[in-house]
């Protein structure tokens, strides 16, 4: 049952801040194994929706199902443990740890993270740590940060931190990844490569991606489906070609004066 339906279902979710509805009855589905883009003008509620889905905010209304299971009352760590992991718009690289440690931290099934296991099964913690280090280095190669593995993450540039967060998210062996503007500040060549890797992960492992992105070229080239939000609601949902002709979408962008974005969409 759960292996065929949508991997993520968001129904009529509301989140208010001091009387202002940041998310106002948003409803959307994300198909398993898809790459879906979430777009909309600034202040549309995209990042707030990510915060609600990943458990950082608790919605006042509505429900969220991941793999058929309610997650809207769950805490962020338990949602992440279920295989739904997110990155942050303003990166949360752990600057006082090395790049490699950042990625290794994200590993799951590490007995060395549990006090009793360190005492009772020190060998298995060490073995797992070797596997984790190897896998972390692989992922760092994947995002071209392997040269910086032993540097403090605080020395990385904004774009490099985005890449680090991407690698860290993959280290958790997720089934679905929420990416909040993963390309911001990343150099374009590397960005393109990242997109290819994302597609490869989608095809090879059936991983699902939902990404907030402002670059319409990226959105159109990578995603098979686009969801458009405005003023806390989903106003359009469909294949890229269809959505960009949708009058409500054009109005929403023009209405906020984001003509450049709309221009990008019209291409």
């Amino acid at each position: 049952m759960s292996s065929s339906g949508p991997i993520l279902k968001v129904s009529r979710v509301e989140k208010h801040f001091g009387g202002i509805a940041a998310v106002d009855g948003a409803t959307l589905d994300v198909a398993r194994g898809s790459i879906t883009a979430l777009i909309g003008p600034n202040g549309a509620g995209k990042t707030t929706l990510f915060n609600v889905v990943s458990g950082f905010y608790r919605p006042e209304r509505g429900e969220i199902l991941f793999e058929g299971e309610r997650i809207d009352r769950r805490s962020p760590h338990s949602i992440a443990q279920r295989g739904l992991v997110r990155t942050f718009q303003i990166t949360k690289a752990l600057t006082k740890m090395t790049v490699l440690e950042n990625v290794m931290l994200a590993a799951r099934n590490q007995p060395g993270e549990h006090l009793w296991q360190i005492v009772l099964r020190p060998g298995s913690a060490r073995r797992r740590e070797r596997e984790v280090a190897e896998r972390a280095r692989e992922l760092l190669r994947f995002v071209h940060l392997e040269r910086l593995a032993d540097d403090y993450a605080g020395t990385l540039s904004g774009g490099q931190r985005k890449l680090l967060e991407f690698a860290r998210a993959l280290m958790t062996e997720p089934r679905m990844v929420l990416l909040d503007e993963p390309m911001a500040g990343v150099n374009p060549t590397l960005g393109l490569e990242l997109l290819e890797r994302m597609k490869a992960l989608q095809v090879d492992l059936g991983m699902t991606f939902l990404l907030i992105e402002h670059d319409m070229e990226v959105v159109m080239s990578v995603s098979e489906r686009v969801i458009v939000m405005n003023e806390g609601r989903v106003i359009a949902d469909g294949p890229p070609g269809e959505v960009q002709r949708d009058q409500r979408v054009i109005d929403a962008y023009l209405g906020t004066g984001a003509a450049a974005a709309a221009g990008g969409m019209g291409r």
Binding site: H77, K92, M97, E101
Partner: protein
């Protein structure tokens, strides 16, 4: 901690053995703060309460229940850990500054209870009053016997030594063993999770780490270390009273951790020894400006110096003497 007046001078070995014992006790105490504050970023200002709880639990069990020391001492540690969990449950989700204020309040509640429940704790006079007035209570018979055995064993190897030296050996053996144990834990992936929480809780929980559970573990384990320090404190001074556990002791622990360097286990004893020498040594400085002051005034002067050291460290060397600036997290 108030040291009894010593009829010794700065040149006497037994004075330095005494300073060494106190430094060892402070090392164990501050090691708990290092875990909570240095590695996990928890601003626990009620640390001294765990010391008080274990010392009182042990003394009460020995005097009133006539429990053997080898059962009462672990019970003291266990009760302190339980209190660590109890105070952690409501407070560990709070911001750093709120946590500081609620934990210091917790510490003061413990001290008020010790001060006012005469029937349970002996009240303001201290543990000597545990059996009520008229009889003087003592809890360290078993311990002195053990300490005597250690002294005897050491003397067969190293020749004559005082009972202070035996205490010194015991305290520092335990202190070093605990440092090694803490080092194993923080070098394990467990410690990596703590450091991630210290810097950014949201990052840690977004990667599936149960931040609250880790904070609770750090608090309880740190409480256990304070509890061990509390037991040694009780043994060293053979009786104690609520005023030994005022918030100043916790602040001394912080000064040791900051002096040493946060997130550095091996630096803690260095910080504790430096602090001990500054603290105890100034008692015997026989040159101006110290000679202008009487002994009570010198006690005030000492605390002024300690306060200035804390301010100076925070202003000029917040990473401490042995810390690394790149790894320092201070919100």
């Amino acid at each position: 901690m108030t040291a009894p007046l010593l009829a010794t001078t700065i040149a006497s070995p037994s004075f330095w053995a005494f300073v060494g014992v106190v430094a060892g006790i402070y090392t164990i105490f501050a090691l708990g703060l290092q875990l909570q504050f240095g590695f996990t970023g928890l601003l626990n200002f009620g640390h001294v309460a765990f010391m008080a709880i274990s010392a009182y639990t042990m003394a009460i069990l020995i005097v009133k229940v006539e429990a053997p020391m080898w059962a009462a001492a672990p019970a003291g540690i266990a009760v302190a850990m339980v209190f660590g969990l109890l105070i952690g449950l409501p407070t560990l989700r709070l911001r750093a500054d709120y946590l500081a204020i609620t934990t210091i309040a917790f510490g003061e509640i413990v001290r008020y209870v010790a001060l006012n429940q005469d029937g349970l704790t002996g009240g303001p006079i201290g543990t000597i009053n545990l059996k009520g007035s008229g009889t003087s209570a003592s809890y360290n018979g078993d311990w002195l016997a053990f300490q005597g055995k250690v002294q005897h064993a050491l003397e067969t190897v190293f020749g004559d030594m005082g009972k202070d030296t035996a205490m010194l050996a015991i305290v520092w053996t335990v202190a070093i063993a605990l440092i090694v144990a803490m080092q194993v834990l923080v070098k394990a992936p467990w410690g990596r999770v703590l450091r991630s929480i210290r810097e950014d809780e949201d990052a840690a929980s977004s990667l599936g780490k149960n931040v609250f559970a880790y904070k609770l573990q750090a608090l309880a384990l740190g409480a256990a270390l304070a509890a061990v320090a509390g037991l040694f404190f009780a043994f060293q001074f053979s009786f104690f009273s609520p005023q030994d556990f005022d918030p100043l002791t916790t602040f001394f622990g912080y000064i040791i951790v900051i002096l040493a360097g946060t997130a550095r286990n091996w630096a803690v004893p260095v910080g504790a020894v430096i602090f001990g020498v500054i603290f105890a040594g100034t008692r015997f400085f026989e040159f101006p400006p110290f000679t202008y002051f009487g002994s009570a005034d010198r006690a005030y002067l000492r605390l002024i110096v300690v306060g200035l050291i804390l301010i100076g460290l925070m202003a000029f060397r917040p990473q401490g003497l042995l810390g690394k600036r790149e790894e320092m997290v201070l919100e």
